[in-house]
């Protein structure tokens, strides 16, 4: 057996998952290989039905793959005996898309569940549960039952439960999708914190690009059961290779929408009134390219749409600007943007 480098926390090799029904055969995951390094936060994005949930369920073997090898923390799960498998699973926390809370246990009882088998004393479990409840801001719901909770509250319980056992790997299947922005933010910060402080490896499915931007280091894009693109978040954002990744990024910043609107409103474009799409990806923005170029070339620049943010230390973003001035000045401005390493595209 090939020895796996110690850096990789999760290694999936040539994973296939096939669901067989009476009539139909669904290839939910097709020949996917994936390595997630220790301490990484790995995002998985893709449209609904792409196979994301199925893929991550393979990591702790909740879904046995039809084919392929699963190695977590240097142990080949697919070869372990049940007893051993449980030892490894202890290291993997999972937050389910549908919460999967136990309706017969209170919030505290649900969070305490994974601790029951650890040999901790009642008082210790209690203390830990109290801490976790504070963490997810549900202290006052300690004794409520799941049926009495709102959707977001349920999901927070699920998150606390997944963290209870101090996992080394945390798998999160759309853990924040039912949460309001504040809670989302606090949960993401929480995930970031456990990742940084405890070096927990996190695999995270999401459909919110904001989440990917905010906490992931690497990202994989899935389509029809396959990973069609992967890499550091910054690279994928700056230089998406597949149409799907582009689409995701574009929809996440709403450029298309803005474009349609702008085009609908401003109909007369000519050589002295142009529409540019600027794409920033680097230190250039800091230099105030727009104001500098406007001053240098004398053109007037209106910002019609802007979405700029920092990603992994580098500011990236899109801006749609209306540039008015003499034809030559506009051309000069175009070239100046280019020279400043800003991708510029003449839309009109």
């Amino acid at each position: 057996m090939e020895k796996v480098g110690t850096m990789a926390s999760i290694v999936l090799k040539n994973i296939d998952v096939t669901f067989k029904n009476k009539a139909q055969t669904v290839n939910a995951v097709k020949n996917v290989s994936l390595e997630v390094e220790q301490g990484d936060i790995y995002g998985i994005i893709g449209y609904s039905g792409a196979g994301k949930s199925t893929l991550v369920r393979v990591i702790n073997l909740l879904q046995r793959p039809t084919n392929g090898t699963v190695i977590v923390e240097d142990q080949e799960l697919t070869k372990l005996k049940p007893q051993e498998l449980r030892q490894v699973r202890k290291k993997i926390g999972m937050i389910f898309q549908h919460f999967n809370l136990m309706k017969s246990r209170t919030v505290a009882g649900n969070i305490a569940y994974p601790l029951l088998a650890t040999g901790l004393s009642k008082a210790e479990i209690n203390a830990k549960v109290t801490r976790l409840l504070e963490l997810v801001d549900l202290s006052e719901y300690r004794d409520a039952y799941p049926s009495q909770l709102s959707g977001g509250q349920k999901q927070r319980v699920a998150i606390a439960r997944a963290l209870a056992n101090d996992p080394q790997v945390l798998i999160s299947d759309e853990a924040t999708s039912a949460l309001d922005p504040k809670t989302t933010k606090s949960i993401l910060e929480l995930l970031k914190k456990v990742n940084e402080q405890l070096k927990i490896t996190i695999v995270l499915i999401t459909h919110e690009m904001q989440v990917v931007k905010e906490i992931c280091h690497n990202v994989a894009v899935m389509e029809q059961g396959q990973i069609i693109e992967r890499g550091p978040v910054r690279e994928v954002f700056i230089n998406p290779k597949t149409a799907l990744a582009k689409d995701f990024i574009e929809t996440s910043v709403n450029i298309k929408k803005a474009l349609e609107r702008i085009e609908a409103k401003n109909s007369e474009w000519n050589s002295e009134k142009r529409l540019f799409l600027l794409q920033f990806a680097g230190e250039e923005t800091e230099d105030g390219a727009i104001s500098r170029i406007s001053k240098q070339t004398g053109v007037d620049i209106s910002i019609l749409f802007a979405d700029m943010d920092e990603l992994d230390g580098i500011t990236i973003g899109y801006t749609i600007i209306k540039v008015s001035g003499e034809k030559a000045a506009i051309e000069a401005a175009y070239n100046s943007f280019k020279a400043a390493k800003i991708k510029v595209e003449t839309l009109k």
Binding site: R86, R89, K90, F96, M102, S104, Y113, P114, S147
Partner: protein, 213 residues
Amino acid sequence: MKTEFIDAIYQTIYMTVVSALFAGILGLLTGVALVITQEGGLAEDKLLYNILDKVVNLLRSVPFIILLAVISPLTVFLVGTSVGTTAALVPLVFGIFPFYARQIQAALLTVDAGVIEAAESMDSSNLEIIFRVYLREGLTEIIRTSTITVISLIGLTTMAGAIGSGGLGDVAISIGYARYENDITLAATLVILIMVFVVQIVGDLLVKLTERG
């Protein structure tokens, strides 16, 4: 007559409680075993499942009166005699536990698969999942089902008169019915009815107490 009647009440309660206890344990064990060994279960085991499934069906196939006879060597072995109230316990247990096992099986199958899966992902052993998830999450259903079973069991005790079990059923049949003393039949049936109601009320109460939406 009065003390006989009180004896009969006592005997019925004794038979019901004791055999419910044993049948409860056996039925729970068997029901749980059926659920976890079935296809896709926690500890899938085709052979064991098939054996249990068949045994349960076999026991359910034997008419009770024949069960009384067939099982009597076992009864003698276990309680030293094949007649009397205590001797009735053995056929009662074997008469009711397969039924209870099926009920438990059905009850546990209503537990959300997602929750079982969550427990699996939290490194719970099968035993832990049985006790901390199946039996707990299924508790309300188990109680509902146990109520039905205990009431069936009370009904069954009325048929153990053949081996001198005594009890209200025996009084109702061998005194009230066979001697045409309708008052006694009525009185005995009424007491049985009260018992059934008590069981049902307690069951319903427990269901309400344990139900969590």
